[in-house]
């Protein structure tokens, strides 16, 4: 016993063990979440074809009206209701306007409305939902009540009422969509933040004295980005639908401006004779919504593969 106490430790007495025992090596490098999401998204063929379509649509929305030999608003009453030809690529409408140009002007309107609605969702919804979720307690209860009451008022009615009062135009539609559009997003953010609030890293940040705003914008919101992005992608097609729907009813974008909804409505009078006037805008509208929907679904699967079935 006494000997062992005075035992001196020398280097030779220690043996270096194998640092990584076989079978426990980590096969790959750790991958950041974003690259992982991107990898899953890129392998999703359906979602990628949606992206390709949307990129093409965006390009055509920019250059389409420029490459056509005719502008989108000039009436040419000698050449009304013409079928597609070398001169008028997609034919003309009942006032002799070039459908090719009008179609891509419509794409501009649809994309602007969709993106604007998404932006408003993002700003209002995330801030409102973030505050609700982070503050909790009475503030949360009050703010939630307000959003519930706003939500319970049917959105179509709000939109139509606003359009009755204001001049119908693309901007009015965007304004009307933003009255209630952000509520769903705020609830998603609220739920996510309530969940995240009790995680250890939040406690750590708080114990180090991080301020409320810092906590919200630096820690909580970035970690809810997945659901936020997915919701945004699915907001876009529903906003595009709303714009087309209202323009179809004659409450939205007014002639001579061209929206797909207006074009479909204009074509209704003569659709038995000039079906192409309806086919082009209808097909593009459906394809655009389809592309956003499959892209959104793909994003959701990419962010949370557990959900994929």
């Amino acid at each position: 016993m006494k000997d062992s106490r005075t035992l001196t430790l020398t280097k030779e007495m220690f043996k270096r063990l194998s640092f990584r025992p076989p079978g426990e090596t980590i096969a790959g490098d750790s991958v950041p979440m974003w690259r992982d999401v991107l990898r899953r998204l890129v392998t999703n063929k359906l979602a990628m074809s949606g992206v390709v379509f949307l990129v093409l649509l965006g390009v055509m929305a920019i250059i389409g009206p420029m490459i056509s030999p005719h502008d989108y608003f000039t009436n040419n009453l000698d050449r009304t209701n013409e079928p597609p030809s070398a001169d008028y690529w997609f034919g003309t409408d009942n006032l002799g306007r070039d459908l090719f140009s009008r179609l891509w002007m419509g794409a501009r309107i649809s994309l602007v409305v969709g993106l604007a609605a998404a932006a408003i969702d993002l700003i209002f919804g995330v801030i409102y939902g973030g505050i609700m979720g982070y503050a909790g307690g009475r503030t949360d209860e009050m703010m939630n009540k307000v959003s519930e009451i706003l939500y319970s008022i049917p959105y179509l009615l709000v939109v139509i009422l606003l359009l009755v009062v204001m001049e119908p135009s693309m901007w009015t539609i965007i304004l009307a969509l933003s009255v209630t559009g952000w509520i769903n997003m705020s609830w998603i953010v609220r739920g996510q933040i309530k969940q995240l609030k009790n995680q250890e890293y939040v406690l750590a940040a708080r114990s180090m004295g991080a301020s409320g705003a810092r906590m919200l914008f630096k820690h909580l919101i970035p970690n809810t980005l997945g659901p936020i992005i997915v919701t945004l992608t699915l907001t876009v097609p529903s906003a595009i639908f709303s714009e087309a729907f209202l323009s179809f009813l004659g409450l939205g974008v007014q002639s001579p401006a061209a929206s797909w909804g207006t074009m479909i409505n204009d074509s209704l009078a003569g659709w038995t004779l000039f079906p192409w006037q309806m086919m082009f805008p209808a097909a593009l509208l459906c394809l655009t919504m389809l592309a956003f929907n499959v892209f959104g679904d793909g994003l959701r699967d990419a962010f949370d593969p557990k959900l994929k079935k």
Partner: protein, 312 residues
């Protein structure tokens, strides 16, 4: 329980009050009055008209009168269709919309649940793929496009159905299809994903182990839990179909409430706009209350807490 439903009722009343107030003041905010467009109205006649509709009183008094009438369910007189009351327009036209809507709901639930169940039973097989393609298309094809296209194809080209009107039972096919496409897609997706979960549950394995036929297992055991989320969709579905009826009635020339709503908006018939808006709001709120009620009934596991429905 009483507290819960009491709270629900109070929030419905608050919502309706907010909407009624907003509608009233929005209508008042419009420059001019409903008679400015009619040409050459002598000032005396106009004064009479204004007095008849109570438009000569100060705004707050008009507002109080309006609220008082609302409580007595008096929606006033249409400003454009000669001396028809708003209530009579609604009762005359709502029948068409109601029938269309109910058929659309029945079709949506049956087809949607059917598609979802079949897709879950043959998970990752061809049938599943087809069902999900239908679901994505249903979400992506706007109802007015579907209505116009089917009208062109089946009404005009193939002549299988009447192009417009609502006279025989076959006339319902195309409008109901256009209204039901989106709810079918949603319900199919909802049912499929819940059924996939349910089919892996222990009690389904027990049923299989007992030697029950597959069809019995699915219908008697799995479906009971599999269609629960469909109940939460009742509120949004009503909203979707109601919104859809506005365009579908227009395309197929059906004299339903949706058509009157659009007409009232383009005619600037303010009392009619206000009346139909409130009527729609009441229907949607009833649908939402019904959702909550049904959900408590069909799933006793769920307590009476406030829930968030899917977006409408």
């Amino acid at each position: 329980m009483v507290r819960y439903w009491g709270g629900k009722l109070v929030s419905v009343i608050i919502s309706l009050f907010v909407l009624a107030t907003a509608t009233f003041f929005l209508m008042k905010a419009i420059p001019g009055d409903p008679f400015t467009s009619e040409k050459a109205v002598p000032p005396e006649v106009k004064a009479k008209l204004m007095a008849f509709y109570g438009l000569d009183k100060p705004i707050w008094e008009q507002y109080l009168i309006y609220l008082k009438k609302l409580i007595h369910l008096d929606l006033g007189t249409s400003m454009k269709s000669q001396y028809q009351t708003v209530s009579s327009i609604i009762t005359d036209s709502f029948g068409y919309s109601l029938r269309l809507g109910i058929f659309a709901i029945i079709v949506s639930v049956i087809v949607g649940v059917g598609l979802g169940v079949v897709a879950a039973m043959y998970h990752r097989k061809a049938i599943d793929g087809i069902a999900m393609v239908i679901a994505v298309l249903g979400v992506s094809i706007p109802n007015f496009v579907l209505a116009s296209m089917t009208q062109y194809l089946f009404g005009y080209k193939l002549q299988w159905f009447q192009v417009a009107g609502l006279n025989g039972p076959f006339d319902y096919v195309l409008p109901v299809l256009a209204l039901a496409a989106l709810p079918i897609a949603y319900i199919a997706r909802l049912t499929r994903s819940t059924m996939l979960e349910v089919l892996n549950a222990e009690y389904i394995k027990t049923a299989k182990a007992k030697g029950l036929k597959r069809s019995v297992t699915i219908v008697r055991h799995a479906l009971r839990n599999g269609i629960l989320p469909v109940v939460t969709y009742v509120g949004p579905m009503t909203a979707n179909i109601l919104t859809g009826s506005v365009v579908v009635e227009r395309i197929f020339g059906i004299p339903g409430l949706g058509k009157y709503f659009v007409d009232s908006v383009s005619n600037r018939d303010y009392t009619l706009i206000m009346g139909i808006t409130l009527f729609y709001a009441v229907i949607l709120m009833l649908a939402r209350l019904l959702t909550d009620l049904l959900y408590g009934l069909v799933d006793p596991r769920i307590g009476l807490r406030s829930r968030k429905g899917a977006s409408s």
